[in-house]
Symmetry: C2
Subunit: 193 residues, 2 copies
C-alpha cells in the first residue's frame, strides 16, 4: 500500500526543517511544516537531543508511514559534515525506533520533483510548493520548504514504484544511482545494503 | 567531586569501541571494554540504533559520571565525516538523555595521556594501557584500546581540574584549544558554547 502521510526532513544543527503531507492519487495536502531551532548557546549534545525529541514528537503526532531525507549534501568542510551527520543521525534513529522506512533523495531529485529541474533557486522551489500545496503564502523558512519538497518527491517516487512491479523495479534500479536503489530496497522490506 | 566511573567511546559506524574505568587517586581499574559491531548488512539507520542502544546499555549498567569521546577525527572525505557524525551523534544523544557530562579530547591528547607523546603507534597505546590497567593481555580490538585511552585521559584531566580552582582554570583555558576549554566549561555546569 502506498504511504499516505509522509514526513520530509531537512536536518541541520542550527535549523532542522520539516514538512508533513498527506498524499492521495490526485493531490498532496500539507498537514504541517516548520522548523526545529535548538538555542545556539546550548551544548551540542543538548541541541541534538532537542532535534531528536522534536522529530519523535512529529512522528508521534502525525504517524507518518514514510520519512524522506536528503541523501547528499553540499558541504564546505569535514567539520560541517560531522555536525550535519550528527543532526541526520537523530532523524535516522527516531525513524529506526518506530520502524518507519526512510527514503533518501539527492537535493537535485527533490528540486526536480517540484520545479522540473535540478538547478532551481530556493525561491523557485518555495513558489512551486506554494502552488502545488495551495498554501496562502510562501512556505518559510527555506528549510521547511526543502523538507516539503522532499516529502513531495517521496510521494511521487512511491506512487511510481507502487504502479510497477516492485521486484522488476528493484533489479533495474540496482544499476542506477545508490539513493534510488536504496529507496526501492526499503520498499520491499528487504534491506540489502 | 571527581567522577569515579568514566566511559570512553571511540565511535564508528562499523566498530564503536568502548572502555569503562573506575578511577581513584592512586590507580585506574578497568571495569569493561570491547566494541559494538552492528551487522554490516543492516540498513544504516538500524546500525545506528544498535550503536545507540549499546551505549544506553553501557550507561545503564555502569552508571558513568563522565563520558569521554574524540573531538577531532582524521577523515578521508566528507562522506566518511557524515557517517562518523551519525555514529558520534548516537553517543551524544545517549549522554544528553541521562545528563552525563561529555568531555572531548583530540586523539593526540588521549595518546599523550597514556604514552606521553601524541604520535604513538596503535600498538604502543595498547601496550601502555595493558601496563597502566594491569591487563593480562593486550586490549583488543584497537578501538576498545582507544576508548580506554580516552577514559584514562579524561580521568587525568578531571583530577588535574579538581586540584585547581576551576574558575581560574576556565578563564585560562578559554585561550587554549577549543576541546580543553569545552571540558572545563562542562565541569562547571555552565555551558558557554
Amino acid at each position: 500500500m502506498q504511504p499516505k502521510i509522509i514526513l520530509g526532513i531537512d536536518p541541520g544543527t542550527r535549523i532542522t526543517g520539516y514538512g508533513v503531507i498527506e498524499h492521495s492519487p490526485h493531490q498532496s495536502v500539507p498537514l504541517d511544516f516548520g522548523c526545529i531551532r535548538p538555542p545556539p548557546d546550548l551544548a551540542l549534545e543538548e541541541r541534538y537531543k532537542i532535534i531528536f525529541d522534536g522529530v519523535e514528537q512529529l512522528i508521534e503526532k502525525f504517524k507518518p508511514e514514510a520519512i524522506a531525507i536528503e541523501s547528499q549534501f553540499v558541504m564546505k568542510n569535514v567539520q560541517s559534515a560531522l555536525k550535519l551527520g550528527m543532526a541526520k543521525g537523530m532523524v535516522l534513529l527516531a525513524a529506526a525506533r518506530r520502524k518507519i522506512p526512510i527514503f533518501e533523495y539527492a537535493p537535485k531529485k527533490a528540486k526536480q520533483a517540484v520545479v522540473g529541474k535540478g538547478q532551481a533557486s530556493k525561491e523557485q522551489v518555495q513558489r512551486m510548493i506554494q502552488t502545488l500545496l495551495r498554501l496562502p503564502k510562501l512556505p518559510e523558512p527555506e528549510d521547511a520548504a526543502d523538507a516539503l519538497a522532499l516529502a513531495i518527491c517521496c510521494a511521487h517516487h512511491l506512487r511510481f514504484a507502487t504502479c510497477t512491479n516492485l521486484s522488476k523495479e528493484l533489479s533495474k534500479t540496482k544499476t542506477r544511482s545508490k539513493p534510488l536503489w536504496r529507496q526501492a530496497a526499503s520498499l520491499t522490506d528487504s534491506p540489502s545494503r
